[in-house]
């Protein structure tokens, strides 16, 4: 097993590239830790821009008071967790039907699922937007005794988790529901299940175990690595999701973090130290999830790519 010999000199370019990968992130941290007045100061050399000289941790606290940052953060967390759990559950159930059950038309329907994988998001986004826009009216015709149109109030109790409309634009419904179903997730978990032995499930079936029990007590636990992979991708995807919240949400209290960062571009110029502190706070959960789930993450990349 002799591999081509490794020259020690390869560390030289590698270290250089590692430095290039890190430099922008170091600049981000330095900016986030700089004193408010000193962010916009032309430096003559690179070093003070990459190594924090001042440790103005206060910026990270100030961020929460300046804009409804807590609201954005909770919105993002709540929406991402809801989308992730919903998508994992519906995808796993569908994957079970596709990989473990025999029914007429199964393979043809799966082909239809596959075919939608390459459809650009822009194609489905416009009709989905129109659907959301018209939902309050549709619901109003069917169930007129609920107020579907007006926004539920936001100001009296800012900590109230339920704001916006029940359905339609400016609602958690619009932010969460369309994200809960995924052809990609179904595809990923089906592939995973097909590569798993099914003896245990068959034995359980012979013993008279129902499919619901088989699914929850045998299939899901055995498919845990696949489920973890999908959960990580989905969480990261919905955490960073930008375009859909941008077009469906107008009201400040319903904004998610990616939209909320805009708030730091004030009328009189951008407060870069706060913006960078806020951006770092936004990246924190992503880093935690990535470091904790790196194993599943890398395996998922091999399975054919991140959802676009």
């Amino acid at each position: 097993m002799k591999r081509p010999s490794v020259s020690r000199w390869v560390h030289l370019p590698l270290l250089m590239f590692a430095a290039m990968a890190l430099a922008p992130l170091a600049f981000m941290l330095t900016t986030a830790l700089s004193e408010p007045g000193r962010t916009l100061r032309a430096e003559v050399s690179l070093l003070p821009m990459l190594m924090p000289r001042t440790w103005h941790w206060n910026n990270f606290i100030e961020v929460w008071g300046k804009v409804p940052f807590m609201r954005y953060y909770l919105n993002s967390l709540m929406i991402s967790l809801a989308i992730t759990s919903g998508q994992v559950l519906t995808s796993a159930m569908a994957a079970y039907a596709f990989a473990r059950l025999n029914w007429p038309g199964r393979d043809r329907l799966f082909l239809a699922y596959l075919a939608t994988l390459m459809i650009p998001g822009a194609v489905t986004m416009i009709p989905n937007f129109i659907l959301m826009k018209s939902l309050p009216e549709i619901f109003g015709k069917c169930l007129p005794f609920v107020d579907w149109l007006s926004l539920r109030h936001l100001t009296p109790d800012p900590s109230s988790p339920m704001v916006g409309r029940w359905v339609g634009l400016d609602s958690y419904f619009a932010l969460i529901l369309p994200g809960m179903f995924s052809a990609y997730g179904t595809f990923l978990l089906r592939q995973f299940l097909l590569n798993q032995p099914r003896e245990l499930e068959e034995a359980a079936e012979i013993d008279g175990c129902g499919h619901a029990r088989i699914f929850f007590h045998i299939t899901l636990p055995l498919a845990a690595p696949g489920v973890a992979t999908l959960a990580i991708f989905t969480f990261m995807g919905s955490w960073g999701s930008f375009l859909w919240p941008l077009v469906t949400v107008n009201h400040d209290e319903l904004r998610t973090l990616p939209l909320g960062l805009q708030a730091f571009q004030g009328q009189y110029g951008t407060e870069w130290h706060l913006l960078m502190a806020a951006a770092l706070l936004m990246l924190l959960p992503i880093l935690v999830v990535f470091v904790a789930g790196q194993r599943f993450f890398l395996r998922g990349l091999m399975l054919g790519g991140v959802k676009g």
């Binding site: 290039m20 939608t116 194609v123 416009i126 937007f129 960073g240 375009l243 091999m302």
Partner: protein, 307 residues
């Protein structure tokens, strides 16, 4: 076999329905249905206020057609061609990024010390990529206080006003793209493919007196062919639709539309100008382009790379 399977398929039908139902309803309502609706919309003119009005192929003619003017043939919608040009320009990042990913993967050989630390560091930018990073790069490209121009000043050069410059805004987006994706998915796929190449091949080549470059050309590069093909086609599919988020955050599509891509134009048409029908026409045109590339991939690509 048949005899045992036939009753099973009957037995599973109802169970399958229950398991499939939540996902299937979502699939029909939010994916399959909307694809057909937007195809229908692409033949209409609709501003969301008046009811939609059927215009036949007018939108497609307006988007893709040309007319004769005193100066010669002119595009009906010159913006479409301009933004298609921008999109293709930004697609130049794809071969660049892929080459960089390959280079990094080649350097991270199996028995290298600190290999996983390097891999982690290179991969980091693509993990954090997104809106937060676009704001960071807007700050990096700040002409007076940004990181890049300070570095250039240290070398005695005066940097341009990157994002507001007609000639530098697109290269600036390319450079950011390189930082984000050089160590990203492509590098990981290359690393996996490299570890599949049998070392005996290299040994045999060495015995035959092959040098480093010959070994790369005769063994490594052909072995990486399917992965490279996969990376390039997937990159093209993504790149043709992409570019909205970065441009929206960093340049607003400017200066003078220099960084507006087709994906951005769909957003503009639908949510700024409220031309839902025409936006759907552009979206479907993009879809057909992507479909063409996917068919090419199916025709010429190897299946083994796609899980």
């Amino acid at each position: 076999m048949r005899a045992t399977f036939a009753p099973r398929s009957r037995r599973h039908g109802r169970t399958a329905l229950i398991f499939l139902l939540p996902n299937f309803v979502g699939f029909v309502v939010f994916t399959a249905g909307p694809v057909l609706v937007s195809l229908g919309l692409s033949f209409t003119s609709w501003d969301l206020l008046q009811p939609p009005c059927w215009v036949g192929f007018d939108n497609f003619v307006r988007l893709l057609g040309f007319h004769l003017s005193p100066e010669g043939w002119e595009a009906n919608d010159p913006y479409f061609w301009k933004y298609l040009g921008n999109t293709l320009f930004l697609l130049l990042g794809l071969p660049l990024n892929t080459a960089a990913s390959l280079g990094l993967a080649l350097m991270l050989q199996d028995n290298l010390r600190f290999r996983s630390a390097y891999r982690f560091l290179f991969y980091l930018p693509s993990v954090v990529s997104g809106v937060a990073i676009y704001y960071l790069w807007r700050w990096i490209y700040n002409p007076d206080y940004g990181l890049l121009n300070t570095a250039l000043a240290g070398l005695g050069m005066e940097g341009p006003a990157w994002l507001s410059s007609l000639s530098w805004s697109k290269p600036a987006l390319l450079l950011m793209g390189l930082w984000v994706s050089a160590g990203g998915q492509a590098m990981i796929l290359y690393l996996a493919a490299l570890s599949q190449i049998s070392p005996e091949l290299y040994e045999a080549a060495e015995i035959d007196g092959a040098g480093r470059w010959e070994k790369f050309r005769a063994i490594t590069w052909p072995a990486l062919g399917p992965v490279t093909f996969f990376i390039l086609t997937m990159g093209m599919i993504g790149g043709l639709q992409g570019g909205f988020e970065a441009a929206y955050v960093m340049t607003g599509g400017g200066p003078f539309g220099a960084t507006t891509t087709l994906g951005y134009q769909i957003y503009n048409l639908a949510y700024v100008h409220f031309q839902m029908g025409y936006a759907a026409t552009l979206a479907w045109t993009l879809f057909l382009l992507v479909l063409g590339i996917t068919l090419l991939q199916w025709r010429f690509g190897s299946r083994q790379t796609i899980a």
